[in-house]
């Protein structure tokens, strides 16, 4: 068994496959020696957490019996059922699982190239970029203007940009209270919108300004030299600029041939088998998951169900339709948590919301519930990182 990609989907699936008592070898292929988790990385940007607390090694996966190979994949040969690595070595497989994650598109916003991410960080893959944005915020004068741009759907972590805006606003309110944050959005509606808006009115009324698509929020061009965002209606010069660009499935999805023309990967919602390649399963942010969002919680849930389906397929049993849960917490302030939840099952080839289930935190919940949800958010992060990497 070979798993490509060592994030919340891939590492979790490798562990789940190993637990199945199948007596199979599990090899995890991941180019990076450590994993830096995106959930809670917005708190790092706001100076509330260290990047170290986001960073995890693969040592425990190794000691559990998974062979971890830090290499890039150069080809997937489905006829021979082999994965070729960039050192020329080949890995044979019975079933291949790919968890490509996302790639940021540096061809989508004119002016926003990979080099531009130095002046206008994306910080949408946690790591050096996270620290870069934090340093730029720390260096900004009081009274400065932070501008963020947010893409249209789909992208990794739908409520993430709004959590980031909230926590940056918290940092500004605490440290640089005369500053402003402008959120340029390529959408007219967003995840947990009502909850965020209620919290922003209460906590950051003079700091955050959200500019929707219809109000001219779509960025048509950026100028990194002057940290300028150009929209159809206006130009916004930023003291600190954060561009969250459009995304697509990670490059290994293109190398393997599991992504379609949308840039994302169609899969069977029962087995997570690719609709393009036989015996290849795709999980996590890169898939077209119907109603399920691109979140670490969803990736982990898909990883478990994919492993379960693979066990059935290898045992010549028909995999039973799964039911999956997603719960995404966002912090609006350090002790102010909100959540969205959903329950999903396969309907007509897509993972679909179970109607009547899921939804948002209550709009008029007392402060104690917000505090409690912030605690649950931290507990979720601790539990999931421990179960995947610990």
């Amino acid at each position: 068994m070979v798993v490509i990609g060592g994030g919340f989907a891939g590492a979790s699936c490798a562990r789940a496959l190993l637990r199945q008592e199948l007596a199979v070898d599990v090899t995890l292929v991941e180019p990076n020696p450590t994993y830096t988790a995106c959930p809670f990385s917005n708190a790092v940007i706001a100076g509330l957490r260290s990047l170290e607390s986001q960073t995890f090694g693969y040592g425990r996966l190794r000691s559990a019996g998974i062979k971890v190979v830090h290499r890039r994949v150069s080809a997937v040969e489905t006829q021979q059922r082999t994965v070729r690595l960039d050192d020329g070595k080949q890995l044979g497989y019975d079933r291949l699982v790919i968890a490509p994650g996302v790639d940021l598109r540096f061809d989508a916003i004119p002016g926003y190239t990979e080099d531009a991410a130095e002046a206008m960080p994306h910080a949408w893959k946690a790591g050096e970029q996270t620290l870069l944005l934090r340093r730029q915020l720390a260096a900004m004068q009081d009274g400065g203007v932070v501008v963020m741009s947010v893409p249209a759907n789909p992208y990794r972590c739908p409520p993430g940009p709004y959590e980031r805006a909230s926590l940056i606003a918290h940092y500004l309110k605490t440290n640089k209270p005369r500053s402003k944050l402008i959120l340029l959005d390529a959408k007219d509606a967003f995840s947990k919108q009502k909850l965020f808006e209620v919290a922003w009115r209460e906590l950051y009324p003079d700091i955050i300004e959200w500019v929707s698509l219809s109000a001219g929020g779509q960025v048509t061009r950026v100028e990194p030299a002057t940290r300028t965002f150009v929209t159809e209606f206006a130009t916004h010069r930023a003291d600190v600029a954060n561009v969250i660009p459009p995304q697509r499935a990670g490059q290994v999805a293109m190398i393997a041939g599991v992504a379609d023309q949308t840039g994302w990967c169609p899969v069977d919602p029962v087995t997570f088998e690719s609709k393009s390649l036989p015996a290849v399963h795709v999980i996590g942010d890169a898939i077209i998951a119907g109603g399920m969002p691109k979140s670490a919680f969803a990736a982990n849930a898909q990883a478990q169900e994919c492993a379960r389906a693979i066990v059935d397929l290898l045992s010549d049993r028909a995999p039973a339709p799964p039911k999956l849960i997603n719960t995404c917490y966002s912090l609006v302030a350090p002790d102010y948590g909100i959540s969205i939840a959903g329950v999903y099952r396969p309907v007509d080839g897509l993972l679909t919301d179970v109607s009547g289930a899921g939804g948002l935190s209550s709009l008029n919940a007392p402060k104690s519930v917000r505090v409690q949800e912030a605690a649950y958010a931290r507990a979720w992060f601790n539990n999931i990182t421990r179960s995947v990497f610990g």
């Binding site: 199945q20 379960r308 849960i325």
Partner: protein, 102 residues
Amino acid sequence: MKGEVCKPVRCILAVAMMMAVPALALGDSPAGAASCLGCHPAKADDGPVPALAKLPAQQIVTAMLAFRSGTRPATVMDRIAKGFSDEEIDAIARWYARANKK
């Protein structure tokens, strides 16, 4: 909630038993059960979310039905419980109870 008070000796025993429990094998898990482990730890820990493999099946069923009907206050479990039928809740509860005995 009778019997919820955790006497130290019983707690130590429970923790010791959990240590001996192998990680949950998901091969025979009923629909929905695997997702619970996103928030609920496989082994009891010091966090606010209980480990399900520690709980008797009936306690999970009772809690889920109360969350689903709204009679038990919740932050998120009321929203999640509404996605599961009586049969699914029962199967999940029994699976975690079995995992406890392994």
